[in-house]
Symmetry: D3
Subunit: 331 residues, 6 copies
């Protein structure tokens, strides 16, 4: 299958081990972003994946695309211009101490300064699915316009539109906050497959539900309503409780939950994208619902055990874990 993702690429920088910025003179770095991560996971499952983005027209942009290719992602549609990229620093915590993320200027990146005329819509040719992330909606009018244009064009051509809500209030400034709901609603109308959860329904979309019901039942009702309101094929997501992770899918009025998997966390960032990659794979390949949510959740569970934001676990490893559970060593 061929999948295209549109989205921002960031540079992540991290002190080694569990040190802080003031304790080191070196930083490990990698390139990340929701689109990059989803595609990285899908490549491991055998898909033909491409990224649509705009990178700095300098050594950093070239390094970004080289690393993206290394993840298995096609860089033919990437364009270059301007000279900035968003950077975030991750100081990994351990035990009682939380990991700390610090962002540098993100809005003025080459991606943030991109607009419709920078991209060539022929990138959609031959694609089976298009992935859009809520972060792109938060960037600014120009980037948002690209996202909507792509989604509409995909819809028109019968390419599945996948939308990950990924709602982060801090990315929306005062003025735009009041339009968030309607912007999201417009995108949900275009989407076939959506990643969303309880908070998206109640806080972002301001949906109502009987708070006296059990939480899981509330979620089921909300997602069913969302599917109806916005004509969505399937809504997927995860529930994290203490040290466990479960995935769910609402599709055709049926709510399916995965097993509850014990979670061991090595590198937390990108765990959600591991679930999403598995879910997209399962959905596009018509997995039965029960298997799909298990496959996706195990993909997410294993993504928590690998270095970096981008899932690098293969389909074979996921299936082996589903069939045989955890083991020490494979020879």
């Amino acid at each position: 299958m061929k999948i295209l993702a549109f989205g921002e690429v960031m540079m992540r920088m991290m002190p080694s081990d569990y040190k802080t910025l003031t304790q080191v003179n070196e930083l490990e770095f990698l390139f990340t972003g929701t689109g990059v991560n989803i595609l990285s996971g899908l490549y491991q499952m055998g898909e033909d994946v491409s990224l649509l983005t705009r990178l700095p027209d300098n050594a950093v942009g070239k390094a970004a695309s080289a690393n993206i290719r290394k993840l298995g992602i096609n860089d033919h549609y990437i364009v270059y211009g301007d000279n900035h990229i968003g950077i975030y620093f991750l100081e990994k915590g351990i035990g009682n101490r939380a990991s700390q993320v610090t962002y540098l200027n993100r809005k003025d990146s080459s991606f943030g300064h991109s607009q419709l005329s920078d991209y060539d819509l022929s990138c959609l040719d031959g694609q089976d699915a298009l992935h859009i992330c809520g972060i792109s909606l938060a960037m600014n009018n120009n980037v948002r316009e690209v996202a909507f244009k792509l989604a509409k064009e995909a819809k028109r051509r019968g390419i599945k539109v996948i939308f990950d809500c990924n709602f982060r209030p801090s990315l929306w400034n005062e003025n735009e906050r009041k339009n968030v709901k309607s912007i999201y609603e417009d995108m949900l109308q275009l989407a076939d497959i959506v990643f969303a959860g309880y908070k998206d329904a109640t806080l972002l979309l301001e949906m109502n539900v009987d708070h006296n019901l059990p939480l899981k039942q509330q979620l089921e009702l909300l997602l069913k309503q969302m599917c109806h309101d916005y004509h969505i094929e399937a809504i997927l997501g995860t529930i994290r409780q203490d040290e466990t992770l479960s995935g769910y899918m609402m599709s055709k009025d049926v709510f399916t939950m995965s097993q509850e998997y014990s979670l061991t966390v090595y590198d937390r960032v990108g765990g959600g994208d591991g679930f999403a990659a598995g879910a997209i794979y399962g959905y596009l390949h018509n997995m039965p619902s029960a298997k799909l949510v298990d496959y996706a959740t195990v993909s997410g569970v294993l993504a928590h055990t690998t270095y970096g934001d981008s899932p690098i676990v293969s389909r074979e490893q996921i299936i082996d874990f589903m069939e045989n559970g955890r083991s020490d060593i494979k020879r």
Copy 2:
């Protein structure tokens, strides 16, 4: 507030990860010492902190003061002479294997060879508190003389004298062992705030207590007696049980204990200094007792999760943990 600490600086060297000295060709190093650690913690809480010590008059001494400044500690009162510094190697253990500390020559360091005439007592000008560590008492007559002179002069000027018993029998040679009790008693008479525990009271000061009482009650009785005997404002310390840590304070005949905090250990050395820094901050800022012991204990708990001996957790992080408990990630 302005706080001055007098004490030894050591160089800590450590193989990476959990390797041993024979398994590596490189060592990570940092500069440490009770005084350095307390001040590092207090700097993170917003205090103006200075170290009084004597370092080698060579590249190692210059590197030590540069690293001390990096921790936020004022190095104006540091003097230089001779050319040796104490070094300890830390081979970090994991799980069933204990960490192993190996000391090289420590007594012949530039600090160990220092004497009263090396230091200028004007360093006490404008200070709110003076910190003295039991290690300095163990060094030799000359260093001990400096510690007592500083404590007396501080007492005279109304500067709070903080004394950390830090009693290590191995540092006292045969001849001096018989005088340890009286030396400590002299210092306790000068001290306003003291870090001490059950063993200090019973083994070092040879105090008696009814062993049939519950341990906590024994401790309370012993500390109350200590306060009376030596005219101490407050005695503070921690109790470690398996995987938990609690702090306590005896002050004005009231014994206050913190909550019991679950402990996760990444770098064990310096955890006690994290508690002490929090306790000094809380005491000097007149925190209510219950809050003080919680604040200090959380400071100690978080100090167990950071690389290095010197606490580097900010007041904001401590308060956030007290209010919200443990979390995965902060963005």
Copy 3:
């Protein structure tokens, strides 16, 4: 005591931390092999240990012997020829993700291409024990011939023959698979001390036992039978259950089991060799059975906590753990 081991040396290469091969540009390496590991452990217990093997006649072979010497192993009997060495890559897993071992060509190593005429049997002079590993039997006819010649000659001279079954089906090709049982039986007839377990007895040697009995009793019956059938002095091994490890010994019809030790795993490979080193030491020094199995098991338990395949824990550390249990730090 003087102990000689005959066996293959491999090069192990590993990404740092928990990264995979595609995520790194550097690899940590070390030299390993059952013989190397056993001898490394025995050196730490005070023995005079030598390795008999054949290494590449180039810079890699020289590096191998230098590293072997560093482990405390005498390299006087090592011979050099050809230019290949077996390499395995270890991608360390964590939590839910298993470690992954990938082998490159192993059969065509300088060791795999060695034959009787390459070695000088005077290496047996003055030895107290000879260690042979099942891997050598699996190599090919030439190497197997060396193993048998050494075992027979040792037997003739009254040198204890120690045989570690270490049966790995994947190393035996189709043709040789049918002879495995009789090859092993020939070696067992020559061996005085054997490392073997339930599967060796039932699958490899095709022994029968009443499956309705408790597992431990089945094991006891099988090992007793093995001792009788092949005239073995002692059979030793370990049982791993979830997060615990126990050791056992069958000797003179008495079956002794160690305590059950909680297991913490840092570097899994070589844990079994840690047990074997401890068991050989205990046996050659006539430890009482109960102490022997505890000593050996603790040796294995601690070998799981050190970097690398080769046990590097000293006799003193093992005994300290047996007497005082786990501790945080030793100063």
Copy 4:
């Protein structure tokens, strides 16, 4: 002596050795800037130095000030706000391949967004000299206003004003380019000591000189004129020819040139700041002209041999080199 510098702090990131960004996963970093570098050099010569700047109010800003303190620079006047810092990537070249510098967004840094109200002019209290860099003039109106306010206030108080032209056309946008000359002229009127060269005089200040004269004589005439036109006490700078470096000073109508020193380059960035630090030290301490330019040039020469942009060579090392020349090793 007390010296204050006002200027931007940047983060420099560099692959190890001579690798490029696409060849590494880690970057070495440090904090730099003309002001930081000058002060670092002056600290090594024994001065009391402080930096006035604005850093991000987050973990990166805190790391910057910690590293600045480590260089020996007082951070009391640093203020914090916003969350961005300029970053540049240095891919070090070797031999026939040039080093490559790549800048990310620099204008939107916390420093670039700073204005007069962010700073407290009491930072000038007790200072002997103030250092201003041409980069600050290029930032924007707000930052330029701060620079002029500081220079005027320093002038008023009799604090020496040191101005480093550091003219980089690429930092000035189209609109501002036309005002550059008059802006520089205003600052030169305020300055006592200036770092400038042939291009500053002819291109920036559009001064005329007889091109038929020998270059050195042209330079002399230009600088003499500059001193007269703008009432400057001394103008200093360096001439690089192939693999040699010479320094010069025009002061009181006397033009003094240093010896010509053979140059060996390890880390090129910051070499000019090494000269400037030496020149400022020599000038403030009333060194005779000939010694001053030699001292400054050797300071620059040695700054080319150390890692990082910030000079870290001590006064003793400079004087030893002046007296004894190059040597292999000092014990």
Copy 5:
């Protein structure tokens, strides 16, 4: 343009700095091979490049293709099977000490065990040129058969056949040595563009030339003859003298030599491939001869200054060097 290369991929492992294998515990690695290197250089010049090879069907093979993609090379035609790859260790020398290369088993790699049926000739569809390396001829009959099949098929389709003689006697065993000349002659008959030099003509092809003529003239005569004998469009190569490098081309009976460039060597391996990449680019784009050899030689000169075997210098950097010569730093 689209270029396909057929050839072996090896893993290069190197101690850091100038250390030897016995002095390190880590090795830097990368994937290399004549085909990989040529394509890497051509990618930097803007070409669409693909590699045809066979890699191990395991984690090492996957890492190899990921790294190849990172270099900008299309991996669509790579096939996977078996589990071995050739490895070479590079201990970098410096000054008076030569670099040392040590090879492990290379013949039994997945590539060495590959045969015609493993590959799909559709990889030639749409290609403008095919690159074959003499190493592939030395492998064995099966691999040689693939090389000839590809060359013939390319010839048939009008795809330019590029052949790099790369004759290494040590790779040919006794039996095959006697056929080398005729094998090479067969390939030369198929080739359009050839990389060869004096030794190839005289030693390999046993051509005669008047040894009394100047060397350059001898070379010219030999290459002219070669072009005629084997119907070659162009023969290219380099001459290294002490610390200089010159390139040459014989085409249409015209012999063109480049300028003589001073050579600075950082990583020697792959310098020749840098020349070849430049030459292929120049030839396919119809550069005039004089410019072509200069472009190619500068490409080779700069390839000596970068880490790794694979050229990573861009067309822009080459042209800048041709036009402006050497410089210190580019901002």
Copy 6:
């Protein structure tokens, strides 16, 4: 041949690249000493070498002996006691900047505290030569006593006594300085082979020579006189001039000088020991004088190109260099 060296082992610690102590958080370390270095070089030439020394009885001492074994040196005669080792920091300079060595306490090492009763003279059994270094004479009375006892006992047994003057004034305190000459004279009387130069003869031994003669002739006269006065078989040494190195030998009244070799320096420390190892090998194997001094000098020249103090270049590499000169790469 069997060679025993008696001498101090030190730990060398070094920042990576050309950084200084304040610029790093890690240090590379290795174990060194004149004896270690000489033996390391002799092992590479095929000799059976052992070190006699006293190391700390802790993890550092164990690491030292493990690293010494790795160099090929027998550690059977090493004894353990006390807990300190001498450490020196090497900050490597480059170009115009000199390398800087900083010593920590050296006199109080386990070796410095050793005495005759710590060692077992049976270490001399079967030795062909004994190496003593002037550093041991400078330590203190106890260590000096060991050196003399060993030299006398070796003399008595007909074991060649090799003495390296290695005179460092800074190691001798005021009181002992007046006895230095007579102490050295006593040792020279016992020595068969001596490493010494112009300064040893004139400054240490206060010998006279006509200063009007050419320097080389003065040296010849001085060494001839030394041989006569102290009954020395051969005196050897090197002359460094700018970037060249020459070796010399005075033996049986014949003065032989090597060729003058161009010197390229990567790691300067230990270069002299490289010469000494070559000279000892040549002398013990009765090389003709001219070949001996060339062999020794090339050994020294190559020792300047390897990392670390201990020569690691093989006899084959030395001979290849003597025969073929410098080359780029060996495959």
